[in-house]
Symmetry: C2
Subunit: 393 residues, 2 copies
């Protein structure tokens, strides 16, 4: 029988793969200035340090680190995460509420595995991170987008949706949101924790950018205001140590975490141990925050440069002014099409991501997302001049 | 609202977690001799070598290996896998038919994600690896067990099931099967490849133990007889380098592999790069086969010791005689209960896994699985004497 007759699972109906990851493939042209990714700067990646740590760890503890590990995670890392979560996110938890995962993408996958039946309603910010929208779509969730303003998601509208639609979950990126760069205000954080508990909705709080703050004041996580256990917190070391290591973590109520752990048994058994152990050393030896400070210095300068260039960029009608993170979100005039213009931009040697991909229902063709962490300051200046030309035509 | 009111997804109905991984937790007693796991011997884990490789790789290529990578996998590893697959498994394929994954457990998860709708029928060997049965159960597959004999699965019965039940998939471990240690004969391998194509059934061929052969002659994989693309081959480096690294791979028809790759985007984005790069070095520098030879020497001696002890073990009515792998499967007399006896065995300081967990429909309470890779030769002698006492009572 010809393999063309093979039927794939219904969950793939309408799924065509991450638009961003497809755009990445077009960027392999030498000299291309890319504002399209969400990658850390190559300069921020501590190859030598991680190499040293890995060698010492594997020499001293190779019999443990190369063996099978517990699905529940590498115990020393969990021990180190408790004070880190308290200090950085105001989250008070114990080790049994923490599950190290293979990048925080896996945390989202496990939450969906534990909770989502086909057709279940999930509220997402409008716009939001498309990778996790794809995850939700593969679990056949019914997405309900709720608009946001400069203080983050519209909580009055959110309560209305909680009340009338009875969603299973809210997926939210509260700090330096992807793609907008916006940060949810303190009042709204408190209110969302309260609404979750009032209406019985799981909040999947995705906070990978938090440590990348260049101006303004830190805010506690939504999870820190959670008294009943309705908030699940997803953290990542991809933006502050290395994405290539694939280490993140999930903090959740033990009953929910147990289902996620069972789900992880048949996802990948456990997260690679040497990778967990390297992150543990970053926390245990107090290597993380000095490293983060050096990253923030460089990224802050890049963000400032990009904001300055945007202020004089032709064709750009509006843009966000983040206090940290990796992204700025921009609008052209209403009648313009950022997807059509991308082709012209790529011809000129500069790339971005059209904003339409970040909206659950598409549209918003005049928007686009810029990343400033990956390019150098010089590339930001040159690239933004090129964009200004393309948009001014 | 109290979190106790939280409803989990239907896929968790009846799922309680891996029985084996729960048994492992009971084995933390000092001095316990465990025949329960499927772990490599600690002596076989190359901590120093992996540490050296990791340091060199991260120092020289840290900017690449710590950055985000392609979901499709680390290109040098895929390049190295092509000749390895040809040489070791008689599989002729190109790089675009290979997907590195986070342990071969993820390969199974991705195949299910790509193919299985709730209620789809999947044929499994009776008994088979319970971890992947749990994976199938979480995708709400309807399992159809087919018995096996000393030459592996009963192919006449299998054809009957293919013809009458129209299953979506066959899950099979052809070499040194888990839990039986049996190897599928050459004729049956050819016939299964032909049946898959004739009836349009995907064969998920799981072959992690193949390189661990201590006697007898190597056989080509089922995949090597696949002409149409119905066989998907799952490989692993967990048993021959390290399970803690979590590196395996999937070889499949490009159309199927594409769906698996899209599924992997939202599972964990990509497999950790340094882990892929270490495995690549094992292949590229010809480190793997000499390492495998040293493992086989030690494991072969352990298997022989265990088979000798079994030949004089009280209460054991029957056992398999594998030519490699990690496991021997045993039967007590029909009326005895290996689960009840496990408690007595653990009290005596020795553990195994009751065989009932490996049967899709349970039963077979008089069976149990023994692992010989993890304990030392001395522990095998002592532990089997203890078991003989327990079973003779």
């Amino acid at each position: 029988m010809n393999i063309d007759s093979l039927q794939f699972a219904h969950r793939f109906n309408g799924i065509s793969g991450s638009a961003i990851r497809e755009i990445f493939k077009l960027l392999a042209v030498p000299g291309m200035i890319s504002f399209a990714g969400g990658n850390p700067s190559p300069d921020s990646l501590p190859g030598e340090k991680v190499g040293e740590l890995a060698k010492v760890l594997l020499t001293e503890k190779g019999k443990i680190l190369l063996q099978y590990g517990a699905t529940e995670g590498y115990a020393p890392l969990k021990e180190s995460l408790v004070p880190y979560l308290k200090d950085r996110f105001s989250i008070c938890c114990v080790e049994s509420e923490i599950l190290p995962v293979t990048g925080s993408t896996q945390a989202m996958d496990l939450l969906c595995k534990a909770l989502i039946n086909p057709g279940d309603k999930v509220v997402v910010e409008n716009p939001t991170f498309l990778g996790n929208m794809q995850c939700l779509n593969l679990y056949q969730a019914h997405l309900i987008p709720v608009d946001s303003d400069d203080e983050g998601i519209d909580v009055d509208h959110l309560e209305e949706v909680f009340k009338t639609e009875h969603p299973k979950m809210l997926y939210i990126i509260p700090t330096f949101q992807n793609p907008t760069g916006r940060t949810l205000s303190l009042e709204r954080r408190k209110r969302i924790a309260a609404l979750a508990s009032k209406y019985g909705v799981i909040v999947a709080e995705d906070d990978p950018y938090r440590d990348l703050r260049y101006t303004g004041t830190e805010l506690p996580s939504i999870k820190s205001f959670d008294t009943e256990g309705w908030v699940a917190f997803m953290g990542s070391f991809s933006k502050v140590i290395s994405p290539g290591l694939r280490v993140g973590y999930l903090v959740a109520h033990p009953a929910l975490l147990r289902k996620c752990t069972i789900g992880k048994q048949s996802s990948d058994v456990h997260t690679a141990l040497i990778n967990q152990a390297v992150v543990d050393q970053y926390l245990r030896q107090d290597l993380l925050m000095p490293h983060v400070q050096s990253i923030c210095k460089a990224y802050g300068e890049k963000m400032e440069t990009m904001l300055q260039m945007l202020s004089k960029c032709g064709g750009v009608a509006r843009y966000t002014r983040p206090e940290g993170g990796l992204f700025i979100f921009c609008e052209l005039e209403k009648d313009r099409d950022a997807t059509a213009l991308l082709k012209k931009a790529v011809d000129q040697g500069v790339a971005y991501v059209p904003g339409t991909h970040f909206y659950a229902n598409g549209g918003h063709h005049n928007t686009f997302r810029l990343n400033f962490s990956m390019p150098s300051v010089e590339q930001i200046k040159t690239g933004m001049e090129k964009l200004s030309c393309v948009f001014s035509e």
